[in-house]
């Protein structure tokens, strides 16, 4: 487990207690859904095991459809199954279930208002060694732009598990974004998950730190360092990027007067821009966006890549220092 130099698990507001893949959280929840509801069906495009649909496949072979390496058709078949009254989960790597099939999602799912859930695994830099072809950093922007689409980027195993169940309860298209590597499990299993609702992980008064997905783990380490420096951080996890819990974000920004966002995504069109747009219209405060600055990824280990692209713990700490300086200058 990656723990930034000098930090101990006990320094963290939610000490990690396990290490599991977020994709496994999806797969386990999908299996659970399969048991609960015979209308749940799953579709994969040759990556069924990679995205952890294996349990569902094994137990519900009649409701699992291997589509082969043909994502566009998979989206349409899912829309057709939804039309017939089923609850389809179509999954692949995040790149192939969003960017590759944007028009299919736009017309056959969102414009047609079909109750299809899209599961994108291996999102972001933490995919690691496969490199930029597979490390999509633009998917949140794409999916956020579509009317009716809900976008969720859970942060650990249990949140992904809960997000998957919540996606099934929601009537309408949902994009679930999760990742490949084993990642610290730190949120208590009892932590409530409400679609569209921000989780305030720690209240504070100096600065609001907002993170999504794998970056919640990095931001939580930054919070510990900042706390040691005497900075009182309000730490918020946004798992549902769309619809955004604007109320909670606004209230926090009003209180702290400074905001930093963290995401494993381009700085264009992701969480940071969503938060900035929300606050610019009501509560203009200094904002720093921690994300990938208009570059493609590359091969490497997940943590090496987060360092290389400015998404490491010290990068977040520095962003908080910058935003506090700007706050003071105001």
């Amino acid at each position: 487990m990656y723990l930034y130099d000098g930090l101990a698990p006990s320094d963290l507001i939610f000490p990690p207690y396990d290490e599991l893949e977020t994709r496994r959280g999806f797969g386990d929840a999908l299996f659970e859904l399969g048991k609960q509801n015979t209308r749940v069906v799953a579709l994969a495009a040759d990556l069924a095991e990679s995205i952890r649909m294996d349990k569902f496949m094994k137990h519900f072979p009649d409701r699992f459809f291997q589509c082969g390496i043909a994502e566009a058709n998979m989206i349409g078949v899912a829309a057709g199954l939804a039309t017939a009254g089923f609850l389809p989960f179509a999954g692949s790597f995040a790149n192939f279930i969003t960017g590759r099939v944007f028009d299919q999602i736009r017309q056959s799912i969102c414009y047609s208002r079909k109750n299809v859930k899209l599961a994108g695994s291996h999102a972001g830099l933490t995919l690691g060694e496969d490199g930029a072809s597979h490390q999509i950093l633009e998917d949140i922007a794409l999916m956020r732009s579509l009317p009716y689409m809900v976008v969720i980027n859970p942060c650990d195993y249990w949140q992904t598990y809960q997000a998957t169940l919540a996606a099934a309860r929601h009537e309408g298209p949902v994009y679930l974004r999760f990742g490949r590597p084993k990642w610290p499990v730190f949120l208590p299993r009892s932590m409530p998950f409400q679609l569209g609702k921000a989780l305030i992980l720690k209240e504070g008064k100096d600065v609001t730190l907002i993170a999504t997905g794998h970056m919640v783990w990095m931001a939580m380490q930054a919070e510990a360092i900042l706390r040691q420096e005497g900075i009182d951080v309000e730490f918020i996890n946004i798992h549902t990027i769309k619809p955004l819990d604007e109320e909670t974000i606004r209230r926090s920004a009003q209180k702290t007067g400074a905001v930093v966002t963290c995401e494993e995504h381009q700085i264009w069109g992701g969480l940071g821009e969503a938060v900035a747009a929300c606050l610019a219209q009501s509560t203009p405060v200094p904002i720093e966006i921690v994300g990938v600055q208009g570059r493609f990824g590359q091969s490497g280990k997940p943590i090496e890549l987060l360092k290389e692209y400015g998404l490491d713990v010290p990068d977040i700490v520095r962003a908080v220092h910058r935003v506090l300086q700007r706050k003071q200058q105001q």
Binding site: G68, A72, N73, V77, A82, T83, A84
Partner: protein
């Protein structure tokens, strides 16, 4: 179904075909009026596909209009993949009783349920999926047919695709999927008029040996030499029905004519997406008798067009 046809006397069968032809003629008038009133739209393919759509909705499909149910469980369903020919489909849906005939005059107008390409958002009865961006509807039809199979609903999903649309890669993904999973409650018709926006399909991007390509992916292929002859279309559809539920999806390759039967539109790709002007509309309507009565058209406009 074929048995029913056989039981009918030749006279009765001929009479039925004549009735369907009359409907198709009226649908063609509707297409011309609609695209004229909208000053836009796609008359060419609408005219080539009219006979198939009429045969399907007025004779072949087991449907229960005006009642429309999105999931189509307990009845047959139709998906129009080449959404741009919706003028013909809208006319057929209205004349079959899914929505009021008057609504045809709102085609492509603001706040209309009759969007330029079929859509579900406005809740137009009969439409189950938005199409228009080509290549997607067939996949949805495949999914719907698969859904019927899973729900043990012994009904058929029909789908129409354009021939130019077969240039889309997704179509071949869907064809492979349907063959692989033996989706045998699926009957697809190709409106093979050999015209697309930029020219003849064979010139723009050759389709190769089309029957062989479908067969290679495990489909039953029925070729129809004259897809604008009602008797041939009807016979092919009945044949397809008897072949359904036998382990293979079925495709009808309908050799049709863009703009049929208007002499100055016939087999001309320029009529893909251009509406007739007043003189062209007058000339075209003169070639199509008003069999069932036109949908309500403002009298001033009607006079303007029809009076020389």
């Amino acid at each position: 179904m074929e048995a029913v046809l056989e039981e009918k006397s030749t006279d009765q069968a001929a009479q039925r075909i004549h009735q369907l032809e009359q409907i198709a003629t009226q649908v063609r008038r509707d297409v011309l009026w609609m695209t004229y009133l909208a000053r836009s739209g796609h008359p060419g393919g609408s005219l080539s596909a009219a006979d198939f759509l009429v045969a399907l909705y007025f004779d072949v499909m087991d449907i229960h209009p005006p009642h429309f149910q999105m999931d189509s469980i307990g009845e047959d369903a139709f998906i129009l993949s080449n959404g741009h020919i919706c003028p013909a489909w809208y006319s057929v849906l209205a004349r079959r009783g899914y929505f009021p005939l008057e609504e045809l005059a709102t085609f492509r107008r603001i706040h209309s349920r009759l969007q330029g390409h079929p859509a579900t958002l406005e809740g137009l009865p009969g439409v189950r999926i938005a199409t228009g961006s080509l290549g997607q509807g067939l996949s949805v039809a495949v999914g719907l047919a698969l859904g019927k199979r899973l729900r043990k609903d012994p009904h058929i999903v029909y789908c129409m695709v354009g021939d130019g649309e077969l240039q889309e890669g997704q179509i071949w993904e869907a064809i492979a999927f349907a063959g692989h999973y033996q989706i045998d409650n699926l009957i697809v018709a190709v409106d093979w008029n050999n015209q697309q926006i930029d020219g003849q399909v064979e010139h723009v991007m050759s389709l190769g040996d089309l029957p062989a390509r479908w067969r290679a992916l495990r489909w039953t292929v029925i070729e129809v030499a004259e897809g604008n002859q009602m008797a041939q279309v009807l016979q092919a559809l009945y044949q397809a029905r008897t072949l359904a539920f036998q382990g293979k999806p079925i495709v009808l390759l309908l050799r049709t004519h863009m703009g049929y039967p208007i002499d100055f539109m016939l087999d001309n790709h320029r009529w893909h997406g251009v509406p007739p002007n007043r003189e062209q509309l007058r000339a075209a309507l003169a070639q199509l008798p008003e069999t069932l009565g036109d949908f309500p058209i403002p009298e001033t406009i009607r006079q303007e067009v029809l009076s020389q």
